[in-house]
Symmetry: C2
Subunit: 321 residues, 2 copies
């Protein structure tokens, strides 16, 4: 649920007047996403998404995100394309926030993941990685291995309120991850948040990828590790090998994976589970009483982490050399 | 902010298959309205609003509301039109809720009320009242004078937590309203909730009226009394006579007001203030900790009520015989 900033009709009219999109016919706040305020905007010319960037997004990062979407769209990746105003700029201000207008992407995100979703995802992710290789900007991943211990420490031992012993368990896992994190895998632009609600489908075909606001420069294969967590577990916590196999197999048809990348999958999957477990734990502990957005359960990712700890090699994900 | 019920893509696809609207291209939860769950739905054929009726709406009342919209639309009133499925029915079920699909109405509701909004509103309300005169169904207003004392009593004196002495003040006002409420004014279908967020405009022209889920059979002029409260006060609490004059004047161009209706305006305006004050007070007192929807401030309507108490005749609203 997310509309944090109210946009008045007067403000909107003067904002839209800076574009060649015609008169506003309708504007509805969208109850999706938790980081920014999003509106469905219909004008005489077309449908758009209007995004207002809220405090959690660093305004200095916005050019990286917006130019990335332009770069990807130029290379045929289906993603929202920032619309330029008459001044040639896509980033401006509305209701006291940085704001941008985007082309509207058809499709719906899958509430229930079927194997075909994972096949399409693998293919699209590889195409996205390849398309991003010649992107000129870089952005450090500020939610990777070196950032996790400070994040755990900022929880001040309160993880034990969620589950007794959790803080110690996570500290030990961090010892392992810090000692075993890969150092020299192929790097490039990763999405870093390619959860089902950020991937749209029409029927059985992927129609586009949205929400590039965690995108950064990191190991490409780490994006797959995130998806092993976010797409391949069933609601009962069991790991669906068929989905993983389709995800990785269809990825490899578009972009080859090296032996080093494949071998790194188990530790990267542990790391990806840790990253989402920690941010969820932090949000769980720190969400204000009566908060607008209900925080997600960190325990889901503890179960995933425990699964990955038990893995002895990449074959557990249905992949070999 | 309102999407209370999650709709899965699978459920939505089978729901939409019962209509002749083509394939679903997009579906976004809308962060507006507090009673029901609303979705913007784009199909190959057109844009629609999908509404799921939540618990606060009595399912037995839905035929009254849906047939009213059809009746009004047939008579040229711009309002959402329920879309019939292949079986000729507009009301069906989705995700465990009664649900209906509606035509999409262009326009935006005004965040800041200008005088021209009130002129357009008066005209459209009178046209709506006239169009409803031959509607065959009736529905009692369950939020009128006889319902207010039980509502105040259900607050159990906790009004004094909001403002000391409030409960006694409201009880005395109820004495006055019960003794002085009109008995024989012209009746018909009223909207009963025509607040700015339920009236859409394109530029300076009213483009449609939405949200008929409080509609009922009552004194027509009571609808105007609600709008004197909801549209004619400034944010600082002052009453804008120009807006009231335009509202009532443009109404009278479409439907004549009798002397009895005009004379009743001050007591009806007090009653309308009481009705919204009481439901807001009840919601304020009873909203669960950490509630999803922030309750509206009841004190706004105490200020309006105090204004109407000071009124000595309808000329205070810019209207004479």
């Amino acid at each position: 649920m997310a509309v944090y900033t109210e946009v008045t009709d007067d403000d909107l009219e003067s904002f839209v007047a800076d574009y060649n999109v015609g008169e506003v016919l309708a504007c509805k706040g969208i109850a999706e996403g938790v980081e920014n305020s999003n509106f469905f905007l219909q004008t005489q010319q077309d449908s758009f998404i209007l995004t207002l960037y809220e405090k959690r997004v660093n305004a200095d990062d916005l050019p990286f995100f917006l130019e990335l979407m332009e770069h990807l769209a130029d290379r045929g990746i289906r993603c929202p394309l920032p619309v330029n105003g008459r001044d040639g700029q896509s980033l401006r201000r509305l209701s006291g926030r940085p704001a941008a207008l985007f082309t509207f992407l058809e499709g719906m995100w899958p509430r229930k993941i079927h194997p075909f979703h994972c096949a399409e995802l693998g293919k699209a992710m590889a195409q996205f990685h390849v398309a991003g290789l010649d992107y000129g900007r870089t952005r450090a991943n500020n939610l990777t291995v070196g950032n996790w211990r400070p994040l755990l420490e900022s929880c001040g031992g309160r993880g034990d309120e969620v589950k007794p012993g959790l803080t110690d368990f996570l500290a030990r896992e961090l010892d392992f991850l810090e000692a075993n994190w890969p150092k020299d895998l192929p790097r490039g632009v990763i999405h870093a948040d390619m959860f089902p609600d950020n991937v749209f489908y029409r029927g059985e075909s992927l129609s586009g990828i949205i929400d590039f606001y965690f995108a950064c420069t990191d190991f490409l294969v780490y994006d797959l590790a995130i998806c092993l967590n976010a797409w391949c577990f069933e609601r009962d916590g069991s790991f669906n090998m068929t989905k993983a196999k389709l995800l990785l197999g269809h990825y490899r048809k578009e972009r080859a994976l090296s032996k080093a990348e494949i071998d790194a999958l188990p530790v990267l999957a542990r790391g990806a589970a840790m990253r989402f477990l920690l941010t969820r734990l932090y949000d769980w502990i720190n969400h204000p009483e009566g908060a607008f957005v209900k925080p997600k359960d960190p325990m889901e990712y503890l179960r995933y982490l425990t699964f990955h700890q038990s893995v002895t090699g990449p074959s557990a994900y249905g992949i070999g050399e």
